[in-house]
Symmetry: C2
Subunit: 404 residues, 2 copies
């Protein structure tokens, strides 16, 4: 949601879908710039504001936008009502600033829908068991939207963003990247987690688990464009096989995450507990560990390597430095200048040779690969950040994504 003008546009768009006979629930984010304004106020007072207070502060951003959208719908003759997360309630755990939704109560929403109203729900926020306001973290409005769609068994969850769909890779890196008309939810999951920042990963997980199709659309198109034209203008994220042409192509897209960091623990004696202990220390601070490898050295000890988001890098370093003496290892090394590049496609399941083709391509470009991890539908490599654009570009070309 941008300015007042954009709120009015959203109202026109929502009214269009409602008038076509749909029951409509809208989940909004804050107006553009508002969350940063609020964080700025907190920053003026404290470098490390209390997370509970921060959630309560930042949640006012969405509360403001829902009321304005309700007003904008009323002025064009629609019945509308707005709700904050706690009013629904959208129940979450108590992990302030990173909360997870546990359930969404649909009673109020259904009653309002049956009453002919458009229901507007503040995204990004919920309430914990003690009645504290929580937020889901940046991008959490997507997750809110899908959670609401799931609770209502909606036929589709349309997510309006600042892009018009999901691309084979980031068009800023590869100019001839192509918009996908459909993408499998599993591919989308890999893309989200790897940095194609179109949808928050948890929203795609939710949607996949409960088989709610998501349609990614641009909020910048004409709000009054014909319904069918609008539906075709984005990307449908679905797990229904009939929507996906599985045989045609092996690779659907190239994802990347520039801001990675790598930690290596050298000389772990043979003791299954240690790797586990290290991971536990890190994840107990709510830091997500991504790639993990372990290899046996010649001296019989193990080397253990993992990656974390670069923003959490110094936190992880501090945790490990503080606990160093308690862990029986030789050395801990780290590198915060690495990026991850992944090729993704449900078609890989029935195609061989994708990994070797990927590695050969990188090798031909003299790009050194630090780590590899594979899944059924994805191969990721960790490389130096300075090679990232190049890697994405040559892989996009190798797998002929601009033409598929």
């Amino acid at each position: 949601m941008g300015s007042i003008e954009r709120i009015k546009n959203v109202a026109s768009r929502v009214a269009k879908w409602h008038k076509a006979g749909n029951q409509v629930v809208v989940v909004t984010s804050a107006m553009s710039g508002e969350t940063n304004r609020l964080l700025g106020l907190a920053k003026e007072i404290s470098d490390q504001p209390d997370p509970r207070e921060l959630d309560m502060l930042v949640s006012t951003g969405e509360q403001t936008s829902v009321t304005l959208l309700a007003m904008a719908l009323k002025i064009i003759g629609e019945k509308a009502v707005s709700y904050a997360g706690w009013q629904i309630p959208v129940n979450t755990d108590s992990a302030h600033t990173k909360a997870r939704i546990s359930s969404v109560n649909d009673v109020k929403v259904r009653r309002e829908l049956d009453d002919g109203k458009i229901v507007i729900i503040a995204g990004f926020q919920g309430v914990d068991k003690l009645g504290n306001i929580t937020t889901l973290g940046r991008g959490g409005s997507d997750t809110s939207a899908v959670a609401v769609a799931v609770s209502l068994k909606a036929s589709e969850c349309m997510i309006y963003t600042d892009v018009n769909g999901v691309y084979t890779t980031d068009p800023r890196v590869v100019p001839n990247a192509r918009r996908l008309k459909t993408v499998h939810v599993e591919e989308m999951l890999e893309m989200s987690s790897l940095g194609s920042k179109v949808l928050q990963i948890r929203s795609v997980e939710f949607a996949g688990n409960y088989e709610i199709p998501i349609r990614v659309l641009s909020s910048l198109t004409d709000p009054l464009m014909p319904l069918e034209e609008e539906a075709n203008s984005g990307t449908l994220v679905t797990s229904f096989e009939k929507e996906i042409n599985m045989e045609k192509i092996a690779v659907t897209g190239i994802a990347f995450n520039r801001e990675e960091a790598k930690i290596t623990v050298l000389g772990i004696p043979y003791c299954p507990d240690i790797a586990h202990q290290i991971l536990e220390m890190v994840s107990s601070e709510n830091i997500e560990v991504d790639m993990i490898t372990q290899s046996r050295s010649k001296d019989g000890t193990n080397d253990f390597t993992f990656t974390v988001p670069r923003s959490d890098y110094s936190k992880v370093k501090n945790i490990l430095d503080a606990k160093k003496e308690n862990i029986d290892v030789d050395e801990i090394t780290s590198d915060s200048g690495v990026s991850k590049v992944s090729v993704i496609g449900v078609g890989m399941r029935s195609h061989v040779g994708v990994a070797s083709k990927m590695l050969r391509t990188l090798s031909e470009e003299n790009i050194n690969v630090h780590m590899i991890s594979t899944s059924e539908i994805k191969i990721s490599v960790l490389i130096d950040e300075k090679h990232m654009e190049k890697a994405v570009s040559v892989l996009h070309n190798t797998f002929d994504l601009q033409n598929s």
Copy 2:
């Protein structure tokens, strides 16, 4: 609450009272300008925004300020926690934008206080039985503060405003107006309703009914001034007789309300129902009728006159015009250029002649009096607005208020 700088000042002041051994609950208003900013956003969308949505929108202002104050207290080493109205909960009726508090639950607050925390509660807002956010109307933060003080049986409710106390009259009108060290709660009640805009009338009612002393203080003084000096710098509003020297003076202050309007209904047949019906029409729109007079004409019909706030004048006119045919009256006249001036003092109870002295003074200045209304501790007159300053000034002088 003004800027971030003022929030930090408030934090210092609150910490000072807490460190002196007091349990402290703070009720905040929004940051200065914030409520108007939010109303401005609504205005950009709708001239008459839905009251429920408006409450939900405007309540974000106080929610923002409580969190910032909690952060500011933590950074100076105090334990603090913030709450929105619905979290306490502060229960209200459902009269959006003008709600009344029905009860304040003290359980959470007591638990936090016993835990050594400073508790910060968003003023001006509550929640109705259906879980909708309500607001108490402008100035409602005073009422919130007193209601919280009552629920906790606080020893005192200190209200920080932009003035340093209650004056014999408005110093902008009478430059030698004097600050009162104490004022009886009944006098304060009359002053609030009549336009000495220091405290919201409902907050004083509450405080009077539950015998909570209110201390009116300036938020602009040095936050670290010594406790006793600070306590003496304002005005204590109390009903404890020992604090009030009842015999000394008849009149405590002159209040006025510039923006009044007068409606006169002429030729009402003798029928007790009609005046009642008219008042009901007006008050059912939540408009407060103030002065009321009724007089018998020579032809046996009645003339009925009442005043309303000038801001509600056209609304009242519309109501009466719409219903004119249903009411059997000759004519409805009105005057929106009138003001009310009142002399107030609990000492009047034991002094006679205040009314005659007042009317003589006005007559000597050729100020025509349209209506008079009296109570045990107050005499009010309705006069042309153009005479208002003059009337206040000569009455202040007549009752020797600058020297008492």
